[in-house]
């Protein structure tokens, strides 16, 4: 094999989440009330529009979670050696972005660097000018005036492709709606746009159309230009933004995964069994809750840094070290944030255990654990789902702040926080370097906004009071 598959811990967890999500889907299909709630989500236009956006982010994140190391050309007979650099499928797809490194800052669509440099003239002597970029617009050669036309042409090509693709998608959707509702294509098309389908296809089509129209021209241009410019060390900002997505997703999802079992188990135990177990659990979460979150995280991250720094032998590659640090951050965030959900579940369990169907089960002598599994847990699921989606956006935002403060992810790991941190100083420059921040802002805003909107829809669909 020309490469060796590397499974980072976070890769494992994120794929585990995917598998768990699919398994959960099967469980839901068996439970009518949950299915009905998800159907309500599916009917919501806002929900499906935001879900479409989230799926795009998820695809980027998942592609970035398949890692490998390239085999080095060692010659025959020798044991194979592998590159020290761990790459992901996303890196492979975005090879031009990853490798087209300039010297330093360049603006979006620029063909020259952002700062003047002293250049040796071929005929001797020196001059200060903006040097030509190595990759950005290199195919134009000396014909730099052609830039607007070239950009427009490539963008139009991307748009055209987007239109074709969208047409295919729309035709497929219409055909499937037509088959399911047993009506003609034309009627199906009308129903989709009147919102008369049980699933909000119209929202999905509009959003995917917008996304295609935005992303395909971007793809068409990205190979030739630095669409979002480059940063201080000349790295493409678009590439950084894409890499940041995975970091955000992991922080947002794995953290919840870490804290969920703990919060659910302890919350139910405290609420159902009461007595000393309740006292102990309440004491533990009050203590944890008493330490202001940022400070507890700061302290824990500092201590984790010491552990990592004093044990460099644990990590084979820099990627592994950064990855473990990311996971540790997830754990720390999880430990500090399970208390809220735990308290919520405890309160709900207290209410549930007095309900008559639980009393009825007790009258049959059904064992406590069976009551918890059959009667209490299923009736808490909506709270768990709601808190899972509600927490996600908060965690993505928290990552940025923590990384900015210096208690977040490894400084070598690309994330929204590190991007902002690196770019912030440059606002003071004249003229201003704004594209790094702007790119991070826009992508993060879209991700968090989509997550927030989706969370709202899920909460409305699952909250029994909101019916």
């Amino acid at each position: 094999m020309p490469f060796q598959i590397v499974t980072l811990w976070s890769d494992g967890l994120i794929w585990l989440l995917v598998v768990a999500g699919i398994g959960f889907g099967f469980l839901i299909a068996r439970s009518a009330p949950l299915l009905a709630a998800w159907r309500r989500v599916g009917k919501s236009r806002v929900g499906m529009a935001s879900a479409t956006v989230l799926v795009v982010f998820a695809i980027i994140g998942l592609l970035d979670s398949l890692h490998y190391r390239l085999k080095l050309d060692g010659g025959e007979g020798r044991p194979p050696t592998y590159a020290i650099e761990v790459l992901s499928v996303l890196d492979a797809v975005a090879t031009p972005l990853r490798t087209h490194n300039e010297k330093t800052y360049s603006a979006p669509f620029a063909t020259r660097l952002y700062a003047k440099e002293t250049v040796e003239l071929p005929g001797g002597g020196q001059t200060r000018e903006y040097p030509r970029l190595k990759y950005g617009g290199a195919h134009l050669g000396n014909d730099e005036d052609r830039l607007p036309a070239d950009v427009a042409g490539k963008a139009a090509l991307g748009l055209g492709l987007a239109a074709v693709l969208w047409g295919v998608v729309a035709a497929l959707v219409t055909a499937s709606v037509a088959r399911r509702e047993k009506v003609g294509r034309g009627e199906a098309w009308r129903r989709i746009w009147r919102g008369e389908t049980p699933f909000a296809w119209s929202a999905l089509l509009v959003t995917s159309g917008l996304l295609l129209a935005l992303l395909l021209p971007l793809v068409a241009l990205a190979g030739y230009y630095h669409v979002f410019g480059t940063d201080k060390v000349g790295q493409d900002v678009l590439y950084q933004v894409m890499k940041s997505v995975r970091t955000g997703l992991i922080i947002g999802l794995v953290t919840t995964l870490v804290m969920l079992p703990l919060a659910v188990l302890l919350g139910i135990i405290a609420g159902y069994f009461r007595g000393w177990a309740d006292d102990v659990i309440q004491y533990v979460y009050t203590v944890l809750n008493s330490i202001p979150g940022v400070l507890l995280i700061a302290a824990a991250v500092l201590m984790m840094q010491v552990v990592i720094d004093t044990n460099p032998q644990w990590f084979a590659t820099a990627a592994e070290r950064a990855d473990l640090r990311l996971l540790a951050l997830c754990f720390i965030l999880g430990i500090t944030s399970w208390t809220g959900l735990c308290r919520l579940l405890r309160g709900e369990t207290l209410k549930l255990r007095e309900l008559e169907y639980i009393q009825a089960a007790k009258a049959f002598g059904v064992s406590s654990w069976r009551i918890i599994v059959r009667h209490i847990l299923p009736n808490l699921m909506h709270i768990v789902i709601i808190s899972l989606v509600m927490d996600f956006s908060g965690l993505v935002l928290a990552e940025a702040v923590l990384s900015y403060v210096g208690i977040g992810v490894d400084p070598t790991m690309i994330s929204f926080g590190t991007m902002i941190n690196n770019a912030r100083m440059e606002l003071g420059r004249e003229p201003v370097v704004w594209w790094s921040l702007a790119a991070a802002f826009v992508v993060m805003f879209v991700l968090v906004l989509a997550a927030n909107l989706f969370a709202d829809v899920v909460r409305d669909a699952f909250d029994p009071r909101a019916v």
């Binding site: 169907y357 009393q359 049959f364 009667h375």
Partner: protein, 670 residues
């Protein structure tokens, strides 16, 4: 009649659901005169509350007034701008609601809540307002009004809150009072007080009153004229006299026929088959046609128009032929004790059962006292018999039921099932005993797990107690049980939310029967249900008892149900049984003053025979701090000196009747 105070013409109200508006009230017209009480009667969901809210223009946000007119003193209030409507609300018409507990603002004092009406509509502030408030509180029968003015709602008892609500409504001196189920949430002795108060106030002020209720007894006591609503329509309007002697609409008659009463003992109660059609798919003909025993072919096709059948008596029905007088007739009072006195040894024996909950106070949360929810209750129940445990809310009757099942650990006393002591029995052996002792709960919406299928719910007990082993066998057992309680076998695959309240209660009964118990504790199994559905459940329980020989401990506050079903009756007050005996003895010749008051307070759904209500002062005190001596003495009309200090001995009268009252201990001594 003079020009009516309130004139409703063709009122149509709906609730927005998606893009369409579902009509909850469809073409309702009636009038209320000054000084008159018009009762709007109907079962839940018939649109009677929506009508009231529509008149006040206080519909919830999804509600829409689609058409029609509401004229108050000749002025169409539906046409008023919202700002002008505000000076009508509270001033010319006022409203009181069903739940006094939630209808008052919890963080404002009584004085503030009455005061804002005086300020808004009477322009009274400061001292004059205060004087007026005191006067109002006195009028609604609140003692010590000076103190009450500064108190918050949570410091008042339920009946007192409703009195304050009435004072708030009266503060604007309205011409029309709309009372939406004003006593449904209250105990029967308190209900009697509030109904009396409303009658008195109405007479004094000459107010018009629109009374919304589901209770024929309340109608009989209060109404001058009655309108019956069914599925959003008014189907019969009649003066009180005609309504009770000669109701003409089949639905009205079915309501009468479904009432459990002493006269119907042994008989099967008439039920109304089927269900109220849903708002989304109303039939085009008569809405009652599918459930009607007098249905004519035309009523399925055409909408019946009003037909006059007497002076001020109109009915919306095509059928004009003779009607079954059995439906509304009173049967001659039969002898109650139809069944022979119990020769068999009791299955369930309860002796001196006590359940005390500690009250913790202070810094260290020390136990400073006990809520004596159940304080020395003794009962016995023979196979195939029904013992009714009767009492008002908070008397501890539900706790008795749960303590018998060991769902709450008794503090002291004995519970013996077929001779085996359950109190303190190790969990393993208790498990075996649970087969013979089961419970049906009050609220059919809370007693079924919404996430489980009906089949799984019913099979739960069988699985836990190992009654039926295999999956195949269990399936057929579930199907058999469903058939037994009158549900189709395919119900097993569906979820509880797909069923109506009555059907859910059938499922709950099937679940309890699944383990073939000898004793079934029924905790108010019909109190959350409409009369017609209640009749179905009572019929079911009765036939199950006949075929299976189950003994029921029937916990209830409804005397109609007691009269219809019970063999023995135990009356509870503040954790103790004050009177016990056969149904005949207790209901025909009650001995204890509390039993007498309780029985007299139940409003009878009849024209005559409204006997004088024995008025009880105040409300049931808290079991945390019961009165000394006889717990009942502060409210007792026959109180004596000895009652204040000594709990009376239980004395025996008649064959089985026992009473705990000093009136009778003294007799014996003499």
């Amino acid at each position: 009649m003079n020009a009516p105070l309130l004139k409703i013409t063709d009122l149509r109200l709906g609730f927005a659901a998606g893009r369409q508006t579902l009509l909850a009230v469809d073409g309702v017209s009636f009038e209320v005169g000054a000084g008159e009480t018009f009762a709007l009667l109907g079962e839940s969901g018939c649109g009677k509350s929506a009508t009231a809210q529509g008149i006040m223009r206080l519909l919830p946000s999804a509600g829409r007034i689609v058409g029609g007119g509401v004229e108050l003193d000749g002025q169409n209030v539906l046409a008023l701008p919202e700002a002008d409507m505000r000076s009508v609300r509270g001033r010319r018409m006022a409203m009181i609601f069903q739940e006094p507990a939630t209808s008052l603002n919890p963080v404002l004092t009584v004085g503030q809540q009455i005061g804002e009406v005086l300020e808004r509509h009477r322009d009274l502030r400061g001292e004059p307002a205060r004087q007026r408030m005191l006067e109002l509180l006195r009028q609604v029968g609140i003692s010590d009004p000076e103190r009450r003015l500064g108190e918050y709602p949570f410091q008042l008892s339920g009946g007192m809150k409703q009195r304050v609500m009435i004072a708030v409504a009266l503060a604007g001196e309205p011409d029309l009072l709309i009372a939406d189920e004003p006593t449904t949430a209250l105990d029967v002795t308190v209900q009697a007080q509030i109904l009396d108060l409303l009658v008195k106030l109405q007479q004094e002020r000459g107010m018009g009153m629109l009374l919304i209720t589901h209770d024929l007894g309340v109608v009989a006591r209060m109404a001058h004229r009655v309108g019956v609503m069914y599925a959003g329509e008014l189907v019969e309007v009649a003066p009180r006299e005609a309504f009770f002697t000669n109701p003409r609409h089949p639905y009205t008659r079915a309501l009468f026929a479904a009432l459990p009463e002493v006269s119907r003992r042994g008989a099967i109660l008439t039920t109304i088959p089927g269900q109220v059609p849903s708002l989304a798919c109303m039939p085009k003909g008569c809405r009652f046609a599918d459930r009607c025993r007098y249905v004519t072919p035309i009523s399925r096709e055409q909408w019946p128009n009003w037909r006059s059948v007497g002076e001020g008596h109109q009915v919306r029905c095509f059928y004009g032929g003779p009607m079954d007088e059995e439906e509304i007739g009173e049967h001659a009072a039969e002898v109650l004790a139809a069944a022979p006195p119990q020769p068999a040894p009791p299955t369930l024996e309860v002796q001196e059962l006590r359940v005390h909950f500690p009250i913790r106070r202070g810094v260290l949360q020390r136990t400073v006292g006990h809520v004596k929810a159940v304080d020395g209750v003794s009962l016995s129940l023979a196979p195939g018999r029904t013992l009714a445990l009767v009492g008002e809310s908070g008397c501890g009757k539900t706790t008795v039921g749960k303590a018998i099942l060991q769902l709450i650990k008794p503090t002291a006393g004995h519970v013996r099932l077929n001779g085996a002591e359950l109190v303190g029995m190790p969990a393993g052996r208790l498990q075996d005993m649970r087969r013979d002792l089961q419970m049906v709960f009050q609220d059919p919406f809370a007693s079924l797990n919404p996430r489980l299928r009906v089949g799984e719910i019913i099979a739960e007990g069988m699985a836990a107690l190992g009654v039926v082993a295999g999956g195949k066998e269990r399936q057929s057992a579930v199907a058999a049980l469903l058939e037994q309680v009158g549900l189709p076998a395919e119900a097993a695959g569906r979820y509880p939310h797909e069923f109506s309240g009555g059907q859910r209660q059938r499922i709950a009964i099937a679940r309890a029967l699944a383990v073939q118990p000898e004793v079934l504790v029924c905790d108010e199994p019909t109190s959350a249900l409409d009369v017609s559905v209640q009749a179905q459940i009572l019929n079911l329980l009765k036939s199950l008892q006949e075929s299976l020989g189950v003994a029921y401990l029937f916990i209830t506050h409804n005397f109609g149900v007691v009269e219809y079903l019970a063999h023995e009756v135990a009356v509870m007050y503040l954790g103790r049984i004050v009177e016990f005996g056969s149904a005949e003895e207790v209901l025909r010749s009650p001995k204890h003053p509390y039993t007498r008051a309780l029985l007299s307070a139940v409003p009878k759904p009849r024209l005559e025979g409204q006997q004088e209500v024995i008025k009880l002062a105040g409300e049931t005190p808290s079991p945390a701090n019961p009165p000394s001596g006889c717990h009942f003495h502060p409210r007792c009309p026959n109180v004596m000196e000895v009652c204040r200090s000594v709990w009376p001995e239980t004395t025996r009268h008649e064959a089985t009747q026992t009473v705990a009252c000093h009136l009778y201990t003294e007799q014996k001594e003499k």
